[in-house]
């Protein structure tokens, strides 16, 4: 009888379990060493975790849909972040505050995200098989266009008058824009305090809603199509799915979500770092998702939350741990940057190695079946 699994011993299974979850296991070890070394109190860490989960989860969730469509990690999510930032610059200029400001920013960001996502998807369709590196360069390229618009276009071509956000020379946006009007509005919409920990209920509700959306989306016709395209493009094409269009749609949805995510993120931060925020957020979101045990080909909502918690736990404790172990906080800061890049490297390498191993395994299964016959 033909089987589709390989006969494995217990040790092999354990080895596979470890190698499939290598990144989260590494992180749990780092955190287990770092937390006592940093000397932070439990309440403080729990408070920070709630803040960070509320702040970052939406952005990380925006990465899930392109993975479903087999396009890997969407390094082009920074495009959505840029759109969100442009929306926020406008609402700050118009002096809108509170929840309406966030909604208005989201409305402004949507068409920009859709356009950018469409362009990104189009380009990625021309670079099949190397979507990630191309998406990564697109984010750099668009960063140039973004700077052109924000640094030279705003105040000259695009009407921006407020002197608080313009550079003293009369055009171009300042390096930091104060978002006092929307600072923590969503987080404090429904105040809740348990055991001295503030819980941002409203933001968490929004995040739960987007999770439900992603779960529902998987089951729709479009979601199924995307998974089919992710499995095998040629088979999907043969069964009548418009492959190119589906891929573009997945990037557009991801970009729009990233734009909304950025607005939530920045409203929690309370200030916009005009020229750096988007590129940083791309790296941190991707690293967080990978830390949660996601791979380039497979990711789910559990990975998002586990990843955000583990990654940010490491982020918070490492400077203090560095200071207490070696006496230099700077070292801890370099360490966490190193870990973020290191995690992405390890995850990418594991993915490529596993892809080859899976090929080998399917060959072994074939051999095994033939022998049994």
């Amino acid at each position: 009888m033909a089987k589709n699994t390989l006969n494995q011993t217990g040790a092999d299974k354990f080895k596979n379990l470890v190698s499939n979850n290598l990144v989260p296991i590494m992180f749990i070890i780092i955190c287990a060493i770092g937390i006592p070394m940093s000397g932070y109190s439990g309440t403080y860490l729990v408070q920070e975790m709630f803040t960070r989960v509320a702040r970052n989860s939406f952005l990380v969730i925006s990465l899930l849909i392109p993975i479903m469509a087999g396009m890997g990690l969407n390094f082009g999510m920074t495009l959505g972040a840029m759109a969100g930032q442009i929306g926020l610059i406008f609402v700050t200029e118009w002096g809108v505050v509170g929840i309406p400001a966030m909604v208005l920013a989201a409305i402004i960001s949507t068409p920009i995200s859709m356009l950018l996502g469409y362009i990104c998807g189009k380009i990625l369709n021309n670079a099949k098989g190397r979507e990630m590196v191309t998406g990564y360069i697109i984010s750099f390229f668009m960063n140039g266009i973004y700077q052109l618009i924000v640094l030279y276009g705003m105040g000259t071509v695009i009407p921006i008058k407020s002197s608080t956000i313009l550079l003293p020379r009369g055009y171009g946006i300042r390096n930091t824009v104060n978002l006092i009007g929307i600072r923590k509005t969503l987080d404090n919409l429904i105040p809740l305090r348990i055991f001295g920990v503030n819980i941002p209920i409203a933001t968490l509700i929004v995040i739960v809603m987007i999770c439900l959306f992603v779960l529902w989306f998987r089951k729709t016709k479009l979601g199924q199509d995307m998974r089919a395209v992710g499995q095998d493009m040629e088979v999907a094409r043969a069964s009548g799915i418009k492959v190119e269009q589906t891929r573009i749609l997945s990037i557009v949805i991801s970009t729009v979500l990233a734009g909304y995510g950025m607005i939530i993120y920045l409203s929690n931060m309370g200030a916009l770092n005009t020229y750096n925020a988007h590129s940083q957020i791309g790296m941190f979101s991707i690293a967080a998702l990978l830390v949660g045990g996601a791979s380039v080909a497979k990711a789910n909502i559990r990975n998002v939350f586990l990843g955000v918690i583990l990654f940010h736990l490491m982020f918070i404790v490492s400077p203090m741990a560095g200071k207490n172990i070696i006496g230099q906080a700077q070292l801890g800061e370099y360490f966490r940057v190193f870990v973020s890049y290191g995690v992405i490297t390890v995850a990418l390498v594991l993915y490529e190695v596993r892809k080859r191993r899976d090929k080998a395994v399917s060959g072994q299964i074939l051999a095994q079946n033939q022998k049994e016959e």
């Binding site: 380009i123 190397r130 030279y152 070696i326 940057v337």
Partner: protein, 346 residues
């Protein structure tokens, strides 16, 4: 007409646009009061500074490993060589030679490991190379702080430990090459030594690509299955190409530093791969094909634009948009190259 169309097709529209753009900048320059002599000097100087780093792209493109976004790894080997040479107290031009000698074992070791890694991830090299570069730069950020360097010119004054972010090469290998046979005519200054050094390496690369090993490398890049069938050890050739690339990156950064005058540590090498990558692409290389001519033309065009845009633009519209233009041109060029190969393959 047919010949022209063929030429345009081979040369590619983006390249023609960039060449015309640079050409028009040179024509515009005198009218807006920019001195041609000094801008030409700047262009040539930058060309000589960056040439070897662009050359470092060639071996990996030839062996099919794609664009070497992991160049920072080589740069780190170079930085180790440079700082060690200063630490051991070598001065003057000798410190430059010693820097190259000292960086070599690091470059070989790093390149070997990096090559082994890339052999395991065939098909996904470029993305992984990028992150290998980033991870190694951020790892070295910690090391610069911890390694027991003690030369007072290099370590922080108040703590006595940890290297400074920028270290002057004055008294060590500053202008070690640039001052050799330096020619001065009015505003025009030609760093002959650096140019000759680059020419020497370019010649070596050209000669290597025509040896048996070099031809094997090209074969591996253009058709790995055919190469394996004809008895070439694909993996070892690829590793060799990565080692060469890494070592050239190490030498390249030393050449850069001797002309620039400073060693930039910590976050300095982070984005140094991108200018080199886009320079060779502007020169007409693609993801799987590159020649020495591509290197020379590309470096000249890219550095020409980087030097000319700020001075000319500043004089015309009184704003410095050069940084933004540089970002758009260089990344646009990389994008063009990444999206082009699949069209040909279809």
């Amino acid at each position: 007409m047919e010949a022209i169309r063929k030429f345009i097709k081979n040369f590619g529209w983006p390249r023609i646009i960039i060449a015309l753009f640079l050409f028009s900048l040179f024509i515009l320059a005198p009218f807006v009061g920019v001195n041609i002599g000094s801008s030409l000097t700047d262009t040539i100087m930058r060309f000589s500074m960056n040439g070897v780093m662009v050359l470092a792209m060639v071996p990996m493109i030839h062996s099919g490993c794609g664009l070497n976004f992991g160049l920072p790894l080589g740069i780190i080997a170079g930085l180790l060589g440079g700082t060690l040479s200063i630490q051991f107290g070598f001065t003057g031009p000798l410190s430059f030679i010693m820097a190259i000698v000292l960086c070599t074992p690091f470059a070989f070791l790093f390149g070997w490991g990096y090559g082994k890694l890339l052999n395991r991830v065939k098909g996904g090299e470029m993305m992984i190379a990028t992150y290998v570069g980033f991870a190694s730069v951020s790892f070295m950020c910690m090391m610069w702080l911890l390694l027991p360097y003690s030369n007072p010119q290099m370590v922080w004054g108040y703590g006595g430990t940890g290297l400074r972010t920028t270290i002057s090469t004055e008294g060590y290998y500053l202008h070690a090459l640039s001052d050799i046979l330096n020619i001065k005519i009015g505003h025009l200054e030609i760093p002959t030594g650096t140019l000759l050094f680059f020419a020497f390496f370019a010649f070596l690369m050209w000669a290597f690509l025509h040896t048996k090993k070099g031809t094997a490398m090209t074969a591996v890049g253009s058709n790995p299955i055919y190469a394996r069938a004809s008895g070439i050890n694909v993996d070892s050739i690829r590793t060799l190409s990565v080692i060469m690339s890494t070592w050239l990156g190490a030498v390249g950064i030393l050449v850069y530093e001797q002309a620039f005058g400073f060693i930039q540590l910590y976050n300095g090498p982070f984005y140094m791969a991108l200018p080199a990558v886009s320079a060779i692409l502007i020169g007409g290389a693609s993801v799987n094909k590159a020649t020495i001519t591509n290197v020379i033309i590309g470096t000249f065009l890219f550095q020409g634009i980087v030097t000319m845009t700020p001075s000319v633009m500043n004089s015309i519209i009184h704003t410095d948009m050069s940084e933004v233009i540089r970002i758009i041109v260089s990344n646009g060029m990389i994008l063009y190259a990444l999206t082009r190969k699949t069209e040909e393959a279809r």
